[in-house]
Symmetry: C2
Subunit: 505 residues, 2 copies
């Protein structure tokens, strides 16, 4: 077979797999936003069946043969060409997939579907025991998955690979080692500050229908296209790329907490703008798909914490907020609102953590999930271990399991190894934000005018349009001149603390 | 291979196919209730892909071999056994499926997905020209489908077969020939009556959130389980059985029309109660699945028009309606409301047609779709032909295409041959209603007390639990002593007209 023929066949296969993956995504989205409780058993079977089909097609021996035909052909001579990028990624995925037996893929999908309902129920009742057997079962399956994938000694590393290839738990631990003293130092400084913020402004009464109007208006203003997406409510916010022209955000609304839904929405919208900014003509091919999770999360964190916590952002949006939430905000000044948004105080909640504490929340999860996968921590001991780490790292004790180890849905859906990408993404976001402000000196003025188009153009030019052309470190080097490290994040947090709490002034 | 082994393999295959079908159902439901416009192109590809997978598995030569092994084995000796019923239906479906090429199945699914959006858009803009090319395309594909399926001279009959096997257009035409003079006679009598109803009671202001509360409360009261189902809004009401434990109803709310959403909901709830009443242990096997459409529609019509239009039903529900819609109904008596519900006056709208006109609406569609499939009518001539028939049969002229030939979504989704099952279902519903009132002499009192459990038990005993054990005519004979005919429907309508308009008194 000619390399070009083999390549064309791989393209056809890749697009077909993307189609099937988009069906799986939709079926999963529906489970978390629409499905009545009674549907859970069949939903597990549906997801297992579709995942099994996907896996069967992904591991067909034919694919290996086609890849052998194109690899080292002139088609892939230019490593930055679409062809080379596609073949590189197809090869990587193929080699990862063939290590997993289909039965395991199906069982994981089935168990995760049911476990997510068990988790939501346990969280609602704040009763970890309702989730414990599911967690135990999922940890066992993920341990088996890690062994099948193969690793150089640390099983957990085989799981990170699903979200950020090439990164090891050792590297992540080193990153946290650099971050942790800086973050705890900043928290201590802030706690000694005499300048106060008024975070309770954000805990007034914010009618939910108005929160939805504000969120959708703001998202559309920033460039999220609701003709090609939507916003729904769920237990735990997520985004779901159903396919080109259909990217769905979710959030949860809390009558007495403005930030709860709005910043979760901004976070998911950051993911969504990235997905909507991809080249739909290349849909279903790695060169047209979003990067792995460090970059994806960098986009979420960029909009949530760097744009959404900035002063010019609220210079633009506060007047609208004041109109829509007149009862809650009629006596509030923009500066007080801005300072309330940037209030720093460790708490139990990761999703609405302040900018400084955030990565300490991730650290807790990173350490616990390593121990779960290595077998050093039993599922039943998670609540105690969780609460100990929260006390040690953040100085807070969750009131109950709903506020503690049941707050996140990731483990219920089997996403072990995902959490570290939040911190990797955060680090990348800080670096990108420094760069975009250098490249666009008028950015602050534009944001204050509600003009997001230069920012979006910059993101499109530097990130979106490349698909998976460059691995994370290389992409970051191309854009910012160096691979991801913690410095920009620390500088940014230090600046913010100084501005809000006056410590570095 | 032993017959038992082959049978077990067929069971496994049947359940797997049901799983895939339930995914297709969900993806289709999502398109009509949730999907942003931008998703339509990929949605067509998704549905084409899944339908192609389904068809490939349904027509695998292996299935033919397995069926040959079990057919005429002792396993299927008792024609009423689960085994025999399953094998009979598997054989029927297999033999229908292998006549269709996969490409046609995929093209139909893809085109229908896009055509439904084009239809919704055309209806919204009341512009048939936006839908015309899609209709033309779908008719062409359905003509091809009919030729592939095979028929004894009338292509349209091959399409009816999908919804009600064994019924021909000749039989349906004969049924309408018996019905039409009776219906037009009744309409003429009513128009001459001096007793008036006050239909405008139902056109007052009914806030949509309250309509939803009333609909959900009433449905739950009647036995629809919202733990295993939900209610959503859409352009054209439908029901969607996503799988055991998940059956979804849709309706559309109209602020100034109580009946528009409530009776559409009741109709879909009739379908839903049937689906929820099936034996979930037999899910995925013909012996545990709902009957073909005549019986399915009989359940919808039974709840919508026979229960929901009855006096005892409103004796129970009117006080709640009056509480929930206090502004609209505070000065209305139950008897006036009941008479308003039963108001008879031909109009352009099928879904909210009165009990007498209803089947004339179906007749229009039945005649037009026969002509479309035979080629005697071009897509472009549909609006004119539609309006002519409405003038002739119902004496009304739609104001525009949205109120005329764009009102139903069936043709957009390729459901040619479906409409006649509404009248077949209506005829069956009338017969069943006569029988259940004989079998349960206290039914009226029970309904007036809001007690639906004996009625549901009767339906479960006589219909739900049988799955597809008996073909329609046989099932009706078992329950009512004779196959479906028009007499019970005419008697029922005559009685209703007499009661409301005093003509037979």
């Amino acid at each position: 077979m000619k390399p070009q023929t083999a390549y064309n066949e791989l393209v056809r296969h890749s697009r077909e797999q993307a189609l099937l993956a988009s069906c799986i995504e939709l079926v999963g989205w529906d489970e978390l936003t629409q499905m009545p409780r009674g549907g859970v058993e069949n939903r597990g079977h549906q997801l297992a069946y579709l995942s099994g089909l996907y896996h069967k097609a992904a591991t067909h021996p034919h694919i290996g043969g086609l890849l052998d035909t194109v690899t080292s052909s002139p088609l892939v001579a230019d490593a930055e060409s679409d062809e080379a990028v596609n073949v590189r990624e197809w090869r990587r995925l193929y080699e990862r997939s063939i290590r997993l037996p289909r039965e395991l893929v199906e069982e994981l999908a089935d168990v995760a579907a049911t476990a997510q309902q068990a988790w939501a129920n346990a969280r609602q009742n704040s009763d970890f025991s309702l989730f414990e057997p599911w967690l135990e079962n999922i940890v066992r399956l993920k341990q088996r998955e890690a062994e099948c994938r193969g690793h150089a000694g640390v099983a957990y590393d085989a799981l990170i690979e699903d979200y950020e290839p090439g990164v090891t738990s050792e590297q992540i631990a080193a990153l946290f080692e650099a971050l942790r003293p800086e973050l705890t130092g900043l928290l201590a400084e802030v706690s000694r500050s005499s300048r106060i913020t008024q975070p309770r402004i954000l805990l007034r009464e914010f009618p939910i229908d108005r929160q939805r109007i504000f969120a959708e208006t703001a998202a559309a203003d920033m460039g999220f296209d609701f003709e090609r997406g939507r916003l729904d409510t769920t237990s735990h916010p997520f985004f779901s790329p159903i396919g080109p022209g259909d990217c769905r955000l979710t959030t949860r609304f809390n009558y007495n907490n403005f930030g709860d839904s709005f910043f979760a929405m901004l976070h998911e919208m950051g993911h969504g703008l990235y997905e909507q900014g991809l080249d739909s003509a290349r849909y279903g091919l790695p060169c047209g798909e979003a990067m792995t999770m460090a970059i994806h999360e960098s986009q979420a964190r960029l909009w949530e914490k760097f744009i959404g916590f900035s002063r010019p952002f609220w210079q633009h949006f506060f007047p609208l907020a004041k109109e829509i939430f007149h009862d809650a905000l009629h006596d509030v000044e923009c500066n007080d609102f801005y300072r309330a948004v940037n209030h720093i105080q460790p708490g139990w909640n990761r999703v609405r953590a302040d900018a400084v504490s955030y990565d300490l929340h991730i650290l807790v999860r990173f350490e616990l999930e390593q121990m779960l996968i290595s077998g050093d921590l039993k599922a039943g001991d998670v609540p105690t271990a969780w609460n100990e780490k929260y006390r040690d790292y953040l100085g807070v004790t969750p009131a109950n399991d709903a506020e503690g180890c049941l707050q996140d849905s990731h483990w219920a859906s089997g996403q072990f190894g995902y959490f570290p990408t939040y911190t990797l993404g955060n680090v990348c976001a800080a670096q990108l934000f420094v760069q975009v402000r250098k490249d666009l000196p008028g950015l602050d003025t534009q944001l204050a005018d509600g003009n997001f188009s230069d920012l979006l153009d910059w993101l499109r030019e530097n990130i979106y349009r490349h698909g998976q052309r460059y691995p994370t470190a290389q992409l970051m080097e191309r854009i910012t001149g160096r691979p991801p490290d913690h410095q920009a994040l620390i500088d940014s947090l230090r600046g913010k603390c100084g501005e809000v709490y006056g410590k570095s002034e």
